[in-house]
Symmetry: C3
Subunit: 288 residues, 3 copies
């Protein structure tokens, strides 16, 4: 039996208006393929983007941002330097930061980089099933990337990561999975909790950057609760709210758009027009 009430759709939708009121500045060190859509998704959802990745500037900016995203998609050599600097600066300033370990496990530079970043303690980790499995597999007792087909297959890997790092771990897919370790009296209770969020559209994976932009939305929602000295449960609600916001917008866009070009426009519009009531209508939320 969980030590606290289940998180429900209302707990997620309750994060929407506070996020928009905070309009957090999210500092994204992210891949160049998705910078534009990430910036536009933040603006549409109600947050604000900044992207500064020079090694002598990335830390300065991370220290004053509301939240930080580190996405390893298209690392250039100078970004490999900047990312740990930004993570340390975020930690020093109490700024939440999100690790999106794109393509980790197979490619050598980012795999080493992600291992280093994991040691620095991200507030949340977001990836697809293979990436979460690969990231979990780096540690002792890790599992490989075999047989990870759906986001649910990666729940054991996500749980291992959550226990090891204290991060809220999100596995994005047709069904989004959020895993965290519950706290009691501010300390880990050791109890692993798992939330499933169903919504979205089959067209989302056919538009580049919907997943990477979601990583930035996770940072925006975490930024908006950072001042509350958030419990693991509140952090999980923030991570879940970002997923619900993005996938609900996808579901809305998918109703009127059948092809990826116009769907991408509709998704952006819906990120902006969506309100808390619509969010509840468009998603199914259940603890597993």
């Amino acid at each position: 039996m969980p030590t606290s009430q289940h998180l429900a759709a209302q707990d997620l939708s309750a994060r929407l208006d506070p996020m928009r009121q905070a309009a957090p500045l999210v500092h994204c060190l992210t891949n160049t393929v998705v910078q534009t859509v990430t910036a536009n998704a933040l603006l549409a959802a109600g947050a604000a983007p900044a992207m500064v990745d020079h090694p002598e500037e990335a830390g300065v900016f991370a220290g004053v941002a509301g939240g930080v995203l580190i996405n390893t998609g298209t690392i250039a050599p100078h970004q490999v330097q900047s990312m740990p600097i930004a993570a340390r600066a975020a930690n020093d300033a109490g700024v939440p930061w999100v690790l999106d370990p794109v393509a980790v496990g197979f490619l050598p530079v980012r795999t080493g980089l992600a291992a280093d970043l994991l040691e620095l303690g991200p507030t949340a980790i977001r990836g697809n099933a293979s990436e979460i499995a690969a990231l979990a597999g780096m540690g002792e007792g890790g599992r490989g990337v075999d047989s990870v087909d759906s986001s649910e297959d990666a729940i054991p890997a996500a749980a291992e990561l959550a226990r090891r790092t204290g991060a809220v771990v999100a596995v994005s897919g047709a069904r989004d999975i959020i895993v965290w370790v519950e706290e009691a009296d501010g300390a880990s209770s050791g109890e692993v909790r798992t939330l499933a969020i169903d919504s979205g559209s089959d067209l989302m994976p056919r538009v580049i950057g919907t997943g990477c932009a979601l990583g930035a939305l996770v940072a925006a929602y975490l930024a908006s609760v950072a001042g509350e000295g958030p419990s693991a449960r509140l952090r999980a609600a923030a991570v879940g709210a970002a997923h619900a916001h993005s996938s609900a917008a996808g579901r809305i866009a998918g109703r009127t758009h059948q092809q990826p070009g116009s769907f991408a426009v509709g998704w952006m519009d819906a990120l902006s027009s969506l309100d808390a009531a619509a969010l509840i209508d468009e998603v199914s939320v259940s603890e597993l």
Copy 2:
């Protein structure tokens, strides 16, 4: 009393057809978040983009382009090298160039870089109120970035920059402000002129790159008057025309689009469909 007639909407709209006939090639050293929208905005408006920032190529290209944009948004180490090279090559070839000092003042590398670029004498400077204030504050007698809320608050800083550098200085915002020092018989008259342009849409700041793309349009319009050995007044008209073109397109798009995804598409369409008559209808222009 001004030494020459006030600039009016007709003086700005008169620059549109010549710019399209020249179809100037604008060489953009700009941030990776907005490269795509900048290139598309140039193409839609009637110019042509090129983006070459390797240190051994940027100068070669700047020397043959019609105009150059230098935007400090996401400087990588090799771009920090390339930008002064491009500015010098533009100067040597008589090619107008625009400085867009994104986030200058707070972040160390770009702040030093912008100071160096300022010494090289940009033809125009375009930024938001905080950036213009920060850039002005680098010199002697400079003012800080405090209490700069609207573009009008930055008029004194813009005037200081215009006097110090001879550049036309544009402060973009809900109201766009263009400041320049009048010339008489080809020499500075010392008289500071200030133009206000009102148009646009509340959705423009919710689409990434509308401001940065405007910097490229400024370079395109300056390129189209460069052959005329332009007076300060003609350069100001060119800078104003770029602002009027962009904000009029925003106003048109805002009439039919209420959300940022479709607004972005509509703005691009209107950059292309707009003609000189519509430009006059959609903007208010006044000298302050």
Copy 3:
């Protein structure tokens, strides 16, 4: 008289469904201006993108991709290193790769780089008329870039490149030209074949990246025939199919969209919705 039947629209459209069934992963080392549109075009057409250009990762990924695109548009210093590494890894693994020599001929770094890449034997080369002429002009007996106005003007240069390298050479323009050297019994017959494809829209050059994304589609179609130990004729059909797919989508989009912002959305939609029957209807294919 050709040694084999002429390639017709049906030979091109017959490649569409197999490409979609293969859903090839295309590794793009391409310019940052067009990464987003390139990734979206691959996804819309039915392939999958990846963009990895760190020098220590680019080769690893090229060896496992279905196809590789190397586009010299905005080379950063680390990409100048990565591109030959990726080309060699593709060769070692039998992965087809495409060279898109953006702005080669005038700019020094990419011109040397393209010469090196040409030596490595691209499976296909795609460029506009000036780029193909410039690339051909690097070798002995080469011609300059003078008087190359239309894609047909570049046929002699394309033929020279095809003979010298064995690559299928595509000159994209209002009319697309595909040139290759016919094979008999698996060896070059020395006979140069030339295919013309007519379709498209005047708006295509007004949207950034339609040409660069086409380079990625060429890699996707080549990937989908790579397992067949393809003859030159089959490789030419694959390259032609990519051009037909892109330009047919442009023609469809141009029927309902008159401005570049909405045209870009419509082109992406049509890349996705197009089927083999529509492809035949929308293009004219003829051997010259």
